[in-house]
């Protein structure tokens, strides 16, 4: 950070100082009593679900939104009027939320950059040099004359970054820059940002809804419902919630889940494994406590692992009493219908499914198969073809080629039958916001022609299942996001479908809301035998699925259980090593040049894949020593699904490049 002092003026050891910030929109309070301090040269993260108040805070700091209370000081200037805000704007870069939405779709990459540069009055000679460098870094140079509207999500995101940085601001404010982008582009984005920030000594304030990105930040604030729940480094936040995470495989799972829920506040089923957070206990004591609760059940692989930031976040929310504890957790009432389906029955089968839009092939020969009682995850970035595939299977969209069977009916000829037998919850909200909870459920019961005598019973079942008692008569629009999501799920289930399609059901929902939602899905699959096909772009959620298909550019590029996908990665590319080094960026360069091509930066740590950890360790130490760097810590980690996804996509891209070279 020695360089930072040169860039920032005197008295600017901290770039941003916010105290007791308060923002209201008419009568709704968006942010209350938030204070934070951002040191010069650091990457500061705001993490929280939609509606946490991140955007309002960032806009106020960027001087593009007025506020009602508190004090915001940016780069030594108190931002309390339009005139004061104008004074800092030359030194600030701001990228608003929404992928590429602040760019101009009809202009080319270069024209976009030029426009931003002209707005910022970058002298032409400087512009030329900077533009070349940024275009080269972001690998956008070959596409410089392509119109922005024709770019992929990842390219739009990188162009946005270039445009925000073209005037070399001292402070960049990036609002959810990685939402909806594929994991490879996300990694790319973080490494480019890290490099630029270090070179120029720029301070960055970045928000994200993904808790697994927390490791990217030097400091961060966890936000929820307009408040900052806690702040600190990722490590100090974890330390502030002492406890142990116990993982266990237990049979029968539903019984185990019920028993654990009764005693622990944080329990979730991830595939066949249960995760239990035992607050304040050592790993040994925590394991013993879990074992005691599960006495009499068949246990397998009981182990204690380090809790993750998401666990700490949830524990903090409970501690602050911001969300009700697990006691109101919805449970599946006995469903007076036919018992669980035979799990051998195939619920969804896609064969060679293809869909073209003009010259563009959105879905390209997709095959997969989902059994009754299985949770099947379809993963992919925006535009990978997930939604199109679902629309074809649900009979909404005619396929160009291929076939599919859903709930025993042929997709091509019996789309009406399919619609009766499935539940569909779309990305765009399928609820009527001006109707109450009960009215919404009744409406769906009528649409699906649930027979009159059974209707009341089904409606009650939905209310119980989704945990909606107490809010039956409130308008859907007034409900918090998490509850609304459960209501939408309940509406999709009112006619007791055997197959359920969920298109990004948890997008923007807070972590507790997401966990509750998944709780219900697991119970539906396990006890009712419902086949569930779900899409998500939260990689951390994908672990909940029994089976995963990764989609990339319209194709399924990997298809197995999460555990098998991770094992395949280890078998092919080696184990995942996490390095703690004192100068991570220099270390990263040394490692990349030394042959670890897939080394990636996570905040102050580096991840890389090594087939043989022991020889790799020696090689790493050699490489680092040559640069005068010290390896502080090296440990093996279980690869995440994001690691898997990144590896598979890079494999695809390399294959494609080779094909092009041969051609």
């Amino acid at each position: 950070m020695g360089k930072t002092a040169l860039v920032s003026g005197p008295g600017e050891a901290c770039a941003v100082r916010v105290s007791r910030f308060h923002k209201r929109y008419r009568k709704t309070t968006a942010v209350r009593e938030v204070s934070l301090t951002i040191a010069s040269g650091e990457v500061y993260g705001l993490i929280g679900p939609d509606g946490a108040g991140k955007s309002s805070l960032m806009k106020a700091i960027a001087g593009v939104l007025s506020y009602e209370g508190g004090r915001v000081e940016v780069l030594g200037t108190t931002v309390d009027s339009e005139a004061a805000a104008e004074r800092i704007k030359a030194r600030i870069g701001f990228m608003p939320q929404g992928l590429g939405l602040n760019l101009y779709p009809e202009l080319s990459i270069e024209e976009n950059i030029d426009f931003f540069a002209q707005l910022r009055q970058v002298p032409p000679e400087q512009l030329a040099a900077r533009k070349e460098r940024l275009l080269a870094m972001t690998r956008l140079a070959p596409f410089r004359s392509r119109r922005m509207k024709l770019l992929s999500g990842g390219m739009k995101q990188k162009l946005g970054l270039v445009c925000t940085l073209i005037h070399e601001p001292d402070l960049v404010i990036l609002d959810e820059p990685t939402t909806g982008v594929d994991p490879v582009s996300r990694r790319d984005f973080w490494s480019i940002l890290a490099e630029l920030l270090r070179e120029r000594g720029i301070t960055a304030l970045v928000s994200t809804a993904y808790l697994d990105e927390a490791a990217r930040f030097h400091h961060l604030s966890l936000m929820y419902g307009g408040e900052a729940i806690t702040d600190g480094t990722p490590d100090t936040i974890l330390e502030s919630v002492p406890g142990s995470m116990v993982r266990v495989k237990a049979e029968p799972q539903v019984e185990a889940l019920a028993r654990l829920h009764a005693h622990f506040s944080q329990v979730e089923a991830v595939g066949d494994t249960l995760r239990v957070f035992v607050e304040g206990e050592t790993p040994e004591a925590a394991q013993a406590a879990v074992r005691e609760q599960l006495a009499g059940l068949k246990l397998e692989r009981l182990e204690a692992v380090d809790p993750e930031l998401e666990d700490a976040f949830i524990a903090l929310l409970y501690r602050r009493g911001l969300v009700a504890s697990e006691s109101d957790r919805p449970t599946l009432a006995p469903d007076p219908g036919p018992a669980a389906e035979n799990s051998e029955n195939i619920a969804i089968q896609a064969r060679g499914l293809t869909r073209d839009f003009g010259n563009f092939r959105a879905v390209d020969h997709v095959d997969f198969c989902v059994r009754q009682g299985e949770i099947f995850g379809l993963l992919g970035a925006n535009g990978a073809g997930k939604t199109t595939a679902i629309k074809m299977l649900t009979g909404i969209l005619e396929p160009t080629a291929g076939e599919g069977r859903v709930a025993g009916a042929d997709m091509r000829h019996a789309s009406q039958t399919i619609k009766q037998r499935i539940g569909y919850m779309s990305q765009a909200f399928s609820l009527y916001r001006d109707l109450t909870v009960l009215e919404n459920i009744r409406l769906y019961a009528s649409i699906y022609a649930v027979p009159g005598p059974r209707r009341a019973e089904r409606i009650q079942w939905v209310v119980d299942m989704a945990g909606l008692s107490g809010v039956e008569n409130r308008l859907a629009a007034d409900l918090p996001m998490g509850i609304r999501q459960r209501l939408a799920l309940g509406c999709a289930l009112v006619h007791r479908p055997r197959v359920l399609f969920l298109d990004e059901p948890t997008s923007g929902v807070d972590p507790i809301g997401r966990r509750r939602f998944w709780d219900i899905l697991v119970q539906l699959a396990r006890t009712r035998g419902v086949a569930i096909l779900v899409t998500t772009h939260y990689m951390s959620e994908a672990d909940h699925c029994d089976h995963l298909a990764l989609m990339y550019a319209g194709r399924v590029i990997a298809d197995a259980s999460p555990a098998a996908l991770k094992q395949a990665l280890i078998d092919e590319a080696g184990k995942l090593l996490e390095l703690t080094v004192d100068r991570p960026l220099d270390a990263l360069k040394a490692l990349e040049q030394g042959g670890f091509a897939d080394a990636a930066l996570f905040g102050r740590r580096i991840h890389l894949l090594a087939p043989n950890p022991d020889t790799a360790r020696q090689r790493i130490e050699q490489l680092l020593e040559a640069q005068g760097l010290r390896l502080q810590r090296l440990r093996e980690r279980e690869p995440s699904l994001e690691d898997v996804f990144v590896y598979r996509i890079l494999q695809q891209e390399r294959g494609r490049e080779q094909e092009q070279q041969r051609a």
Binding site: G63, S81, G93, P96, E106, L107, Q121, R147
Partner: protein, 384 residues
């Protein structure tokens, strides 16, 4: 005011407009479409009114009387009906708009000097047309009656035809129609519609352009940068004023060469005055864009506050002087009125600066007021 930044905004905007096909169509095709559709469709001339008749007399005189209507260019004879019941049916079906019923003994009674009543049935659904029709019928009837009196005087009093004519009609009315000699409403209308087109199109484009930027979030590039609000607004609106300036010439050309409206004034005066008007109406779009949040709402609101008042309060359909005092006051609050005077003055009367300077000044004042309000209410650090 930094000219480079202003031009950067203007260039960016222009390029976006030129590459967005839909927007380009809206910018250049829609104004001409409005002129064409309303110019051809909104004829206020009442001609070729379909009518029918029942002639219960069937005499030479009744036939002569009926032919006065059949031969008129205002009426379109649909054939004789058998009886009044059939007439009712034709009227109800809107196959005819009025009917004449000539009673029995029409000729006998007239020749005997007894008064005769001819019935005319007029469809009153559209009062304006009904009144004009009634006027035509009354004129034709009066002319026929006068002829009867003249013939009687010639026959009974032995006067010469010219003396008889003088006695029947002692005062002759000589009418000369000024400015629109052929009294073709299409001339006045197509010129007048220029006012309407330039009232609707510039604010429509301006409002969409500004709201589009806010709707998708690129307005934050402006908020977060050092561009001043004046530079932004000027650069943003310049392309729309330019497009509208081109549209002034396009619609003028259409009115003159397609609709054949006479243009007697100075094109330079007309263009400059219309440019002031366009800057003024673009200011209305700016205000709309500051109120609404979505492009759909912007389009709707612009249509409502420009189209309807411009049709009703400008004097295009109803002369200002025929309005009530309150309505007249409202009409003067709206810039359309002044531009319509400029349009009709330039086209039909050949007027220029010396007469119409007041109207141009009124428009310029409007422009200053609207843009000042727009400038003052645009903030780079809004409340939401």
């Amino acid at each position: 005011m930094n000219l480079h930044r202003t031009m950067a905004v203007a260039w960016k905007e222009m390029r976006e407009i030129l590459r967005d096909r839909l927007f380009l169509i809206m910018a250049f095709v829609v104004p001409s479409m409005i002129l064409l559709v309303l110019g051809y469709g909104l004829s206020l001339d009442v001609e070729n009114i379909p009518f029918s008749a029942v002639d219960y007399d069937r005499s030479a005189l009744s036939r002569d009387y009926l032919h006065r209507y059949i031969d008129s260019r205002y009426f379109d004879f649909q054939g004789e009906a058998r009886d009044t019941r059939e007439l009712d049916r034709l009227l109800a079906d809107s196959r005819i708009r009025f009917a004449i019923v000539i009673p029995e003994h029409f000729e006998r009674d007239l020749k005997a000097g007894r008064p005769v009543t001819v019935q005319s049935l007029i469809d009153g659904v559209f009062p304006y047309r009904a009144q004009v029709s009634k006027g035509y019928v009354a004129a034709i009837n009066a002319h026929f009656s006068a002829e009867r009196v003249r013939d009687y005087l010639i026959l009974k009093a032995g006067l010469s035809p010219s003396e008889a004519a003088r006695l029947v009609q002692p005062i002759r009315l000589e009418t000369r129609y000024l400015y629109n000699q052929a009294l073709r409403s299409r001339w006045s209308l197509s010129a007048g519609l220029i006012m309407l087109v330039l009232m609707v199109s510039p604010p429509f484009l301006t409002a969409l352009g500004v709201v589009r930027e806010r709707e998708n979030g690129s307005i934050y590039n402006i908020y977060a940068s050092t561009v001043t609000r004046g530079e932004f607004l000027l650069g943003k609106l310049l392309p729309y004023v330019l497009i509208s300036a081109i549209n002034i010439l396009i619609v003028w050309w259409l009115a003159v060469f397609l609709f054949g409206a006479p243009f007697k004034g100075s094109l330079a005066f007309f263009f400059i005055a219309s440019l002031v008007y366009v800057i003024c109406t673009a200011g209305i779009g700016l205000l709309v864009s500051l109120i609404v949040r979505t492009q759909a709402a912007a389009a709707l609101l612009t249509m409502v506050i420009t189209f309807i008042p411009a049709m009703l309060y400008s004097g295009l359909l109803v002369p200002i002087e025929s309005m009530g005092p309150e309505t007249q006051f409202e009409a003067h609050l709206f810039p359309a009125l002044y531009h319509l005077r400029i349009v009709w003055g330039s086209f039909l009367k050949g007027l220029g600066w010396s007469v119409l300077w007041g109207d141009v000044l009124a428009l310029a004042l409007y422009a200053v007021v609207l843009w000042t309000i727009g400038y003052l209410s645009f903030h780079k650090r809004p409340r939401q």
